[in-house]
């Protein structure tokens, strides 16, 4: 089980997770290569299959910016990998879906980090993620009641909407009814 997470990790239906891990020596080269390949060929990420995910970001931090006294320099023995994503749904089903749908993405993200346990056991992986997860202090969503699926469905409806309005303006009632019912049939999964 993941450790209990605060309500500061959620806003409406949206959740956030921030995972901080330490990267093994020389493995930042692997991260760099992985990021470069993914930027060139975004489809290799495969992450679009995860329909609960709004946004995700990956950063490698080699040193912490210095701002002068009274900051004490923290020299990082190991670079840090900061992973953060925003998703809808509950944390545990989300992590389980991540493991089931994107084991390769999980491997390419965390195999460079100390303590990576693989994805053979969802329980072990979830426990590990729980250890590396930072609790939020504050989380805001501009549309807390909208899930990713709702948003994508809304854009699909919107794309057809203008044609419906035009059809309502120019077609006879009978022709409009045909157009409108066709819309309902096509978009029944989005409504």
């Amino acid at each position: 089980m993941t450790e209990p997470r605060t309500s500061a990790d959620m806003h409406g239906r949206a959740h956030a997770i921030t995972i901080l891990s330490q990267i093994k020596p020389l493995w930042t080269l692997f991260n760099r290569l992985n990021f470069a390949v993914t930027r060139l060929f975004p489809s290799v990420m495969g992450i679009r299959q995860l329909s609960m995910l709004y946004f995700a970001r990956w950063s490698v931090l080699r040193s912490i910016p210095y701002n002068g006294q009274p900051q004490v320099r923290d020299r990082l023995t190991h670079p840090l990998l900061i992973f953060e994503d925003h998703y809808n749904g509950l944390p545990e089903p989300y992590i389980e879906a991540f493991v089931r749908v994107l084991p390769r993405q999980i491997w390419s993200t965390w195999t460079s980090s100390y303590g990576y346990v693989g994805t053979r056991s969802v329980t072990t992986f979830t426990r590990q993620i729980g250890k590396l997860t930072l609790p939020g202090a504050y989380f805001y969503s501009a549309y807390p009641e909208a899930t990713v699926r709702m948003i994508q469905a809304a854009f699909a409806v919107e794309r057809e909407h203008r044609f419906l309005v035009e059809a309502a303006r120019t077609n006879s009632p009978r022709d409009f009814a045909v157009v409108y019912r066709g819309f309902l049939t096509r978009r029944q999964g989005d409504l």
Partner: protein, 181 residues
Amino acid sequence: MKRDRSAITPLTILTPIRPGEKRELEAYVAQLPRDEDSPFRRLSSTHFARWVIIDRLASDYAGAPFPVQPLRMSYLLFTSTFNGPVGEYVEELRVRLGAEADAVWGHCVNYPGRHRPGPFRRYLLHNRVPVHMWYSAYDATVTEVRAAVDLRRRHIELARLVQELDDDKDLQRAFVEEFGG
């Protein structure tokens, strides 16, 4: 990544918290409203925003690096997802987040305050963490997302309503009443 004005951009900023002020900062951030009264509501380009306090590196797991080197400072991690260029967004933070920006980053080492635009901008950008990889499920502004979601809701309501209409004229009239045409 696209660089047009509506492109969705991730920003990550890591600032050191002044020694002894972590709890006060934590308490302040925790009481900030999130819904209609959230200070981020004033930044209309913000999709998501988040503050996280980092005060330790996890070491209580199998395979953790040894020896453990604890952090000597606590840090405030700010992440935001918004539309537009970073420079303009940092200015938005200064102007629209306003007093809350001072109340939060005022607990961080050598934060210059929002009344000094240049130093404010330089401070946040100096502490910016590069985002090396990024995923976005959609590419739209907050206004576009809200409008589309609202339009879908209205279509669902209309679809329920017209289920009971047999006459095509009534169907067309109901649609025009709801959406024009």
